[in-house]
């Protein structure tokens, strides 16, 4: 009987956890029950065609560029040997630390006609145009590709590491040239990873809000934002969101499938390290040049540009106001980190204690939010929140309680980042097998003692990882913060967005550098892991 009682408490908790995500999805989808003819025809005539076309073409080009950069650099740094390889193995991950909305204005600032690089080339070298127009479709695609290719790079590198040179040798033993075996054996073998990385890139591109904003490039995300904040039509925002949601659902289903294939191939993969292909002198320099270009444009150039803007202004910009943004960002991230990690811990324990279909669904729904673009989530959550506020007003509360409060923002963060916190905790908790629990109890250690002496020490690293990841993600987050923040509430990310959309890039440089600095933390963790993989 006592067991039954505990059973229902955990189940109740699991249902509560999956509620916000479910509500946001319902909020988005039910928008079609409330049609406004005039608005709808405006949407279909002026907004959607271009937004759809822009989104789809951007996704296609970014996927191709990231796949090209990611696969090539992964192949070169994993299978080949050339001057500087050891440096590029980890430095090629670095662009990941720069959020798209920072990369965008830093690159534009450096590369546009009046930008620092071109001006220098004109004035000192007499070269008129060394770079095509950056404020173009090509510019958006390049910027996004540079921030997103590390996803493909990391995954495909993992694939090449596990298959090693063996796949090439198999091809060669069957009479193929090295070149042929790369295209006919190694590349097809790595396909699940390439597809997986590309699908992550697609999801991030669909969700991107800040990068396209800098380029004034209208996609579905900016259409959501604009129909709400410029057109003041919440309904249209929701309807556009539902369209975006459709894409996201398809992509995340595909992603789930491709991950299953990665597991399958991984188990068969040879893990022994293999000697690398030594490139010829010329090939080696070309490889070095390729990686060097990617690293320079993806990291050195934007960081250099930000520093060049920030340093002369440092004494002017390090104001009390700046520190207020820093403190605002830090305290918000800490608060969100504590709440989300705590909830993720409870979720992981609930999922461990309970088994069955209900639990699987609850966990799946509660961690679904990571696939949802921030803009979709923000508008989707506001619909049910507004309904709750209406209800509260009906029973006698004077002002809206939830709307415009920090609660909405934290709720949206929780939905979006639950998966980020849950997966490291869960994977660590899997190490605590049921028989470890039984062993502890048979040694007369149970309840809180078991939690303290067995569970917590084992999952500690997972919890720390979850905390770091959530902290950094919240710090960098833009659309949710922008759309759900209480009036007058500012973070570094929002400040960067405001300044850069007004063209005040120089002033945006210092907060941007601060965000990049924090963003480096998880990248360094990733790099350390990549290093470990290399030694083995």
């Amino acid at each position: 009987m006592i067991d039954f009682k505990r059973f229902s408490v955990w189940q109740f908790f699991l249902v509560i956890m999956s509620l916000p995500t479910a509500l946001a999805l319902v909020g988005v989808l039910t928008s079609w029950f409330n049609l406004d003819e005039a608005l709808l025809s405006h949407l279909f005539q002026y907004v959607l065609p271009s937004a759809l076309f822009n989104t789809v073409s951007l996704v296609i080009v970014v996927v191709m560029m990231t796949a090209l950069i990611g696969v090539t650099s992964a192949w070169l740094t994993t299978i080949c040997d050339f001057p500087g390889r050891r440096f590029f193995v980890w430095s090629l991950i670095l662009p990941m630390a720069i959020p798209g909305y920072v990369m965008a204005f830093a690159l534009v600032g450096a590369l546009e006609y009046t930008g620092s690089l071109q001006t220098y080339a004109r004035d000192s070298l007499g070269i008129l145009a060394i770079f095509p127009e950056i404020k173009s479709f090509f510019g958006v695609a390049l910027t996004l590709s540079l921030t997103l290719y590390p996803y493909t790079y990391l995954l495909v590198r993992n694939a090449f590491q596990t298959q090693g040179k063996r796949s090439l040798e198999v091809g060669q033993s069957l009479g193929l040239s090295a070149r042929q075996s790369f295209f006919r054996v190694s590349l097809p073998l790595a396909r699940p990873w390439i597809v997986g990385g590309s699908l992550l890139v697609i999801m991030e591109t669909l969700a991107d809000f800040g990068t396209v904003a800098v380029f004034n490039y209208d996609t579905l995300t900016s259409a959501i934002y604009k129909s709400w904040f410029s057109l003041f039509s919440f309904q249209s925002a929701l309807q556009i969101a539902s369209l975006l949601l459709m894409f996201v659902v398809v992509v995340s289903l595909l992603e789930r499938q491709s991950r299953a294939k990665q597991n399958f191939s991984y188990q068969r993969g040879e893990t022994e390290p293999s000697s690398r292909i030594v490139l010829s002198r010329v090939q080696g320099y070309l490889a070095c040049l390729f990686c060097g270009c990617i690293f320079s444009i993806g990291f050195i150039l934007p960081i250099g540009q930000l520093l060049a803007w920030a340093i002369p202004q440092l004494s002017l910009e390090l104001t009390d106001q700046f520190w207020r943004y820093v403190i605002g960002s830090l305290s918000l991230s800490l608060l969100a980190m504590t709440i989300i990690t705590g909830l993720a811990l409870l979720l992981a324990f609930a999922a461990r204690t309970e088994k069955g279909r209900l639990v699987n669904w609850a966990v799946r729904i509660s961690t679904l939010g990571y696939a949802l673009p921030g803009t979709v989530l923000a508008v989707g959550l506001l619909a049910p929140i507004a309904a709750i506020d209406h209800f509260l007003a009906d029973i006698g509360f004077a002002t809206p309680i939830l709307q415009g409060s920090i609660v909405v923002m934290l709720l949206a963060y929780s939905v979006r980042f639950m998966a980020v916190a849950f997966s490291p905790i869960e994977s660590n908790l899997l190490r605590v097998t049921p028989s470890i629990d039984s062993a502890s109890r048979s040694l007369a250690v149970s309840g809180l003692g078991m939690l303290r002496r067995v569970h917590f020490p084992i999952i500690r690293v997972g919890v720390l990882t979850a905390m770091v990841l959530v902290f950094v993600d919240v710090m960098k987050e833009l659309p949710i913060t922008l759309m759900t923040r209480p009036f007058g509430f500012n973070t570094l990310a929002v400040r960067i967005y405001e300044l850069s959309s007004e063209g005040l890039w120089q002033r945006a440089a210092l907060p941007a550098l601060a965000v990049v600095l924090v963003g480096l933390i998880p990248v360094i963790i990733l790099m350390l892991r990549a290093d470990k993989g290399q030694q083995s």
Binding site: S438, A439, R441, S442, L443, A444, S446, I458
Partner: protein, 354 residues
């Protein structure tokens, strides 16, 4: 509660249900202090559930369990596992991955003063011969070493009873045998009462004083290893424990059975044999060691298969009426397939099933 004054662990009519499904019914057996019992059965027979019921991880749905004359499980009451003083060794060892060897062994000694806990842990570390691995982490140990640490960890708090759940199933065959002997001598030296679960009869024979054979949640027989082998109560036990074949036979009196190999005298076991009558067609258990090879014997059988086992051959022989028997023959008797060889019967225990 127990009628036998010297029994230490007592199970009386224990039944166990998961939800509505019955997994164990009417299990009764007892062990004296220091005795080692073994539950033997195919997978899914309920032997692990029974072990978990004794450990307190499952509540019984009928009957009761007493340990040292204290009731620990009965319907509506179950002393929690952490209060039972019952040690357990798990199939996957379940060592704590974040603790080194000595800390794993010391884990259950938290109620002792530090000094004493350290001494006790060191004592058991020596007993399992892993002094040089004191600081090693579990993942750095081999399977056999992990097994020993798990045993030391379970024994260190000096439990009233030790339970072992398929303790050797993850080890290779050689190690199983040597570790089996080690475990038995360690249990005997520490005078620990123990119950082990296994599906491997050799393990059971090597370690146990008493063996229980389970099938589909029922305890078919609880006896010494010798009796389980030579006097199985039914065809399942006979077939599951040891090799052997069944010959057709006819009861010509209550104590005599006639087969193609001749007539055999048997003892009537009260209770078990009540259903066998004169004239019944019965099956007679013939173990490989019941058949002796003798070149000059008048009784002949044809070799149809042979397995070389080093010291002995295991021959599959066909009798004139096409029935088959197994025979263990010293391996210098090297006979070819289809050869007819002489055999003689030497059956001490004639076992007959209906």
């Amino acid at each position: 509660m127990s009628s036998e004054s010297d029994s230490y662990l007592d199970l009386t009519n224990v039944g166990l249900n998961y939800r509505t499904k019955q997994v164990l019914a009417n299990i009764s057996f007892s062990l004296r202090r220091g005795e080692i019992g073994c539950l033997l059965g195919p997978s899914g027979c309920g032997k692990t559930s029974l072990l978990r019921a004794i450990a307190g991880f499952e509540s019984v749905s009928s009957g009761g369990i007493t340990l040292n004359n204290n009731s620990i499980s009965r319907v509506g009451y179950s002393l929690s596992p952490e209060q039972r003083q019952i040690g357990m060794v798990f199939q996957d060892y379940a060592l704590f991955p974040h603790l080194n060897v000595i800390d794993n062994i010391r884990f259950g000694l938290h109620q002792l003063p530090t000094q004493q806990a350290n001494e006790r842990a060191l004592y058991f570390l020596e007993r399992i011969g892993l002094v040089d691995k004191e600081m090693a982490m579990p993942h750095e140990l081999s399977g056999g070493e992990q097994q020993r640490v798990a045993l030391a960890r379970a024994l260190a708090p000096q439990p009233d009873l030790l339970l072992l759940d398929e303790p050797f199933s993850n080890l290779d065959v050689d190690l199983r045998e040597s570790l089996g002997k080690e475990v038995r001598s360690l249990l005997k030296q520490t005078q620990t009462t123990a119950v082990m679960v296994t599906h491997d009869q050799h393990e059971a024979f090597a370690i146990a004083d008493s063996i229980g054979v389970l099938r589909d949640g029922a305890l078919l027989q609880w006896d010494s290893a010798y009796a389980i082998y030579h006097q199985p109560v039914n065809a399942f036990v006979a077939d599951f424990v040891g090799q052997g074949v069944m010959l057709q036979g006819t009861m010509i009196s209550l104590t005599e059975v006639k087969t193609t190999l001749g007539c055999f005298e048997r003892k009537v076991i009260a209770g078990v044999d009540d259903l066998i009558h004169i004239g019944d067609r019965v099956k007679v258990l013939i173990r490989p060691d019941d058949i002796i090879h003798q070149d000059n014997s008048a009784l002949k059988a044809k070799v149809i298969a042979r397995h070389f086992r080093g010291a002995v051959f295991l021959y599959t022989l066909e009798l004139e009426n096409k029935e088959q028997v197994l025979a263990l023959v010293p391996s210098h008797h090297d006979h070819a397939i289809n050869e007819w060889i002489g055999i003689r019967l030497e059956i001490d225990h004639v076992v007959v099933f209906k």
